[in-house]
Symmetry: none
Subunit: 232 residues, 2 copies
DNA sequence: AAGGGGATGAAAAACAGGTGAAACCGCCTG
DNA sequence: CAGGCGGTTTCACCTGTTTTTCATCCCCTT
């Protein structure tokens, strides 16, 4: 299940490595180098993050300070704190500030991934479950979509982006979803703003459904966005 | 929900980029390059702005000065300040002058949009809600108009401009609204003043209602303007 | 009756989104 | 380590819709 992750880390090399690993896991990662940027990004609600990975030591607003602000603002966004300092006093300080977990550098990327999985499982609204909308049943674990039709059940294997897109549609059935919203929710922010990734990906999804002989549940509402209509 | 935005920025290139992005979001944007122009434009009440985006550094009247004047005049128009200077002292000065939010250059356009959304949400009269007038119910999120008649409820999908126009009428029921006011409220100022966009768009709206078998609630008051009459 | 403002329909312009081919990219395999 | 592969993105071009313009007509005021 792909997550939307905010990485707050000032060491460029480490940040790059983490990003690469997370992206390889299909996660959507935004990276900021300093605390204030992270704070304003979160507050701006540009994207909805499922997790923040925050370095302890940051220029400007430090990790624990950022954490405290988040909690002060009533946000429950899970925070995984990274630190070079292994001793327990820091660990306690970090958790006090509202971090949910704590990982001391250097660490194996595998451990980071494991911690992330654990953190997700602890979420109250944790859902490794399937998503249903009308005859559509999405299985994130298997990355496949099952569609019930008169002719029987069709099972379609989806790629990572197709899955994300379909999930977003199924979570917002019947609503007009502006392309720009898909853009900011499903793609990382730093990319070229004049691109038609969204249109291209929607097309791939539509085409995949069509190639299995299914009618497209995704309609285009001219110059307003897309709408997912589960019932034909 | 389209906003009427005043952009006060002297760097032509940046201004153009911002305008393009905002327009893409259906907002109506007026651009002035310097502070005094902005001040007189606002004071003239030619249009009612929902937001001003103001550069810090401007020829003549600077951003913070403009801000102070606005507040001095008792205007609550939300102001988003732009600045090349990232340090906190300026941030404080800007907020002191009466700005509502603060964004330091360079910034991602996405972040600008997010700030604007956040700012709107903070407005006391914030309304993402539907607008009702008599049997007419306007849903900006879905961009559609529902009309209750004896025959049942008719749902009409509106285009962006039709929605803006209908919203303006529904917010000012039974009043005579001069074409020029619609013009200045719903279209940006820099456009060709001898054009009949308003009449054309009113016609489009009327025609759309008629095509669904509805009587037109918009009447023309000869050489005075239009009047929206919700009850037949 | 003249003049002005608005109405009208057709056509043009502007724009968003669709499309297929090709490039790109990380990953796997030989 | 090269080559192939699937997935993803970009590019250039096409299509359909929305919005504006234009030329003309109509009708109400003065």
């Amino acid at each position: 299940m792909p997550l939307r992750i905010l990485l707050v880390e000032d060491e460029a090399e480490l940040a790059g490595a983490i990003q690469a690993v997370l992206r390889a896991q299909q996660h959507i990662v935004d990276h900021v180098a300093e605390g204030l940027g992270a704070w304003s990004l979160i507050r701006s609600e540009l994207a909805t993050y499922n997790l923040a990975i925050v370095d302890w030591m940051l220029p400007g607003l430090s990790g624990p300070e950022l954490c405290r602000r988040l909690r002060g603002a009533g946000l429950t966004l899970p925070v995984l704190m990274l630190t070079a300092l292994a001793d327990t006093s820091h660990r306690v300080q970090g958790l006090d500030a509202g971090a949910d977990d704590y990982l001391s550098k250097p660490f194996a990327m595998e451990e980071l991934l494991a911690r992330i999985r654990a953190l997700q499982r602890r979420q109250p609204n944790y859902r490794e479950l399937m998503l249903r909308a009308g005859p559509y049943l999405l299985d994130p674990a298997e990355s496949c979509l099952s569609v019930q039709a008169a002719a029987g059940i069709t099972r379609i294997v989806l790629s990572a982006k197709e899955l994300q897109l379909m999930a977003y549609f199924m979570e917002h059935p019947r609503q007009i979803i502006p392309g720009a919203r898909l853009r900011s929710q499903l793609w990382s922010l730093e990319e070229d703003p004049i691109s038609n990734v969204v249109a291209a990906q929607v097309r791939l999804l539509r085409r995949k459904l069509a190639s299995h002989g299914l009618p497209s549940p995704i309609e285009t509402v001219a110059s307003k966005g897309y709408r997912f209509e589960p019932e034909p």
